[in-house]
Symmetry: C2
Subunit: 385 residues, 2 copies
């Protein structure tokens, strides 16, 4: 944590755990008998409990979205750019709840936690969880926290899919859905990249069929490869060019398989770091949840029909250089909402940062997001003075 903490930080935060003993029937028809959800909160719940917003994280995220866990912490939570006093999700106005998804690897029950029936880690026997299951579990957390209705459910990428799902699964329980850098479903290319990542993990000899915990190892190389592939899709071609170009690490060619170009060094390092901090079974589950998400599927492929139950208003935002979920994918959502006469604001942000832009401080994005959330804050009777 920086010594001179800026006033826009939520400061020191601490995760909490909620235990659930009610069995959860999942979309895959299996039942999770009991489970924990780990979450953080920032800001203060107001008297009529109307100022709560839910943050849903993406593929490799977790509950720690803002602030610092200790004085020694070097980096704040993953969405600290957007959460804090004076930021788009302004903790002077909102009570922010950020939860690690079920099946995650940062405290919520997942493949690395103990299966009560066997006394061993769940591993590959952990049931497949879907966006719908996450939303169901988040609704139970809301019940426990005494939050009948969210002022907003907010997420980027896979988090945006959760916000969409909330709008139709519990239409009365949110006033706004904020879907950033999202898509109504994955494309064949998106699925293809996920499949490469999965195959990298599944074929790593240290994967041991998912039971690597029992072998005191983990599929390091598989995770590195999976992350490298993923990372390429998070950055735009322009961002990569701007960041690395064809810069050589040592200034000349070595004609060998060690790192020659800076971009190689960067990807290897990012992959290596990720492999130490993320559970492979969780990564597999998260990519499958992405693949499966397709609300229109049960409605004759009509997104308009799928979104029919939604009662909330929407902010949809996309980034022009995002080639993972390009603006056209967000416009599919917007068009389906507009066709139904739903109140939707849409912003397409100019940036060269690609998919990762949703995590970054991009002034035009901050203005759009702040303006929208400012109006949400006014509605909950807790607006700017």
């Amino acid at each position: 944590m920086p010594e001179n903490l800026p006033s826009s930080s939520v400061g020191l935060v601490r995760p909490a755990v909620m235990h659930f003993d009610e069995p959860l029937e999942l979309e895959c028809r299996r039942v999770l008998p009991k489970y924990d959800l780990v979450y953080e909160t920032y800001g203060t719940l107001n008297a009529d409990r109307s100022n709560a917003v839910l943050i849903c994280h993406a593929l490799s995220g977790h509950h720690h979205a803002a602030g610092y866990h200790s004085m020694e912490d070097k980096r704040p939570g993953w969405w600290d750019t957007c959460i804090g006093p004076g930021k788009p999700i302004d903790t002077n106005h909102f009570f922010v709840v950020s939860v690690n998804t079920l099946g995650g690897c940062h405290g919520s029950t997942g493949p690395a936690t103990t299966n009560p029936e066997t006394g061993q880690p769940w591993g590959p026997d952990f049931p497949m969880v879907t966006v719908r299951d996450w939303v169901t579990s988040q609704a139970r957390l809301a019940d426990r926290l005494g939050i009948d209705k969210w002022a907003a459910v907010i997420g980027g990428s896979l988090g945006g899919m959760q916000a969409m799902q909330w709008s139709t699964q519990y239409p009365e329980r949110l006033a706004h859905a904020v879907v950033i850098a999202g898509a109504p479903k994955l494309s064949a290319q998106n699925i293809a990249f996920n499949e490469v990542a999965r195959q990298a993990i599944l074929s790593d000899p240290n994967f041991h069929g998912g039971h690597y915990y029992l072998h005191d190892t983990y599929p390091r190389q598989g995770l590195i490869l999976a992350r490298m592939v993923g990372h390429i899709t998070y950055l735009s071609e322009d961002a990569m060019r701007a960041k690395f170009g064809r810069d050589l690490r040592s200034g000349r060619f070595h004609f060998g398989f060690d790192v020659e170009f800076q971009v190689e060094s960067y990807l290897r390092y990012q992959g290596e770091t990720f492999s130490r901090n993320f559970d492979a079974n969780t990564y597999l589950l998260m990519t499958k949840a992405l693949d499966y998400f397709d609300p229109a599927r049960e409605h004759g492929d009509s997104l308009e029909e799928a979104l029919a139950p939604a009662q909330c208003r929407f902010l949809v935002a996309s980034f022009n250089s995002d080639w993972r979920f390009p603006p056209e994918r967000s416009r599919e959502i917007v068009n389906a909402l507009v066709a139904r006469g739903t109140d939707v604001s849409y912003g397409e942000i100019e940036t060269d940062k690609g998919h990762d832009a949703f995590l970054l401080h991009i002034p035009e994005y901050m203005r759009l997001f702040s303006a929208y959330m400012g109006r949400v804050a006014e509605e909950v009777g807790n607006g700017p003075a």
Copy 2:
């Protein structure tokens, strides 16, 4: 080979081998003492030896570009769409030479062939070869075949890079360079994808530091992953959507890690087939040759300067849905040539087929290619009657 062979096929063909005893000094400063190049020819060399064209292959290609090797052969050579009687590279007019690159795995000397110094396969000790080295070796093959000057040097993708290299390395030895779906150098993103492919191979336990031949195995999983990543970049998003969409293999979700979507099945199958037919060390070498190619590098990053020695005329063609080497990359080449006053024809083909389009029968592409090659044929005094 089909029973009723169309008259547009070159029919049964047989590879030839040329042995070279003259040491070849490579760009990496190492010397290859002797080597073989395997090649095929189609059509007839005319009396003044002026109708020869050279075909340069891409990353996973080889010398077998057209026709069939046996009556049992199910598929013709990789560029049979473009080579044969009446086709763009018309064997009624041209003597076509198609050579497997040095370092390849289809007969030319490469990592899988025996290192005369050790009596063992070269493996990872095979020297790094570059586009310049390939062109040098191809010029020696031309010498042996008695071809002083090619009517055209032709290639797609990495093959197009070889055609560009010919134009500056041996400016007097070609009349035309045909650069299809090419780029003047790889982008950071291109290098990043190559690096993922390399890491997949290098980290496969069956790679054995490149000495897998001695262990009677090969890095099957690494090659499968490398090919899967590559394959995604060869297809456009639209082509993938048209081909697979989100079609399920069995019609419903299974909530497991077996194949769910058709695109997964296709990629796994393609990767598996490739892994059985391609040498991993060659794949590594070819990706490095791609990374290193950057003719402007030694000319203050001026492509115009780099292309200054070229005396031939150019056909440059690109495909609008190619996101591996998009049209802008071809236009960089065209602009550099135009700035020098070089005679260049440029065609940007509308298709949803992505980078792979250069291999396919796309009418607009065939017309452009045929028209250009028809003029080349007329020049060699062997034009259409």
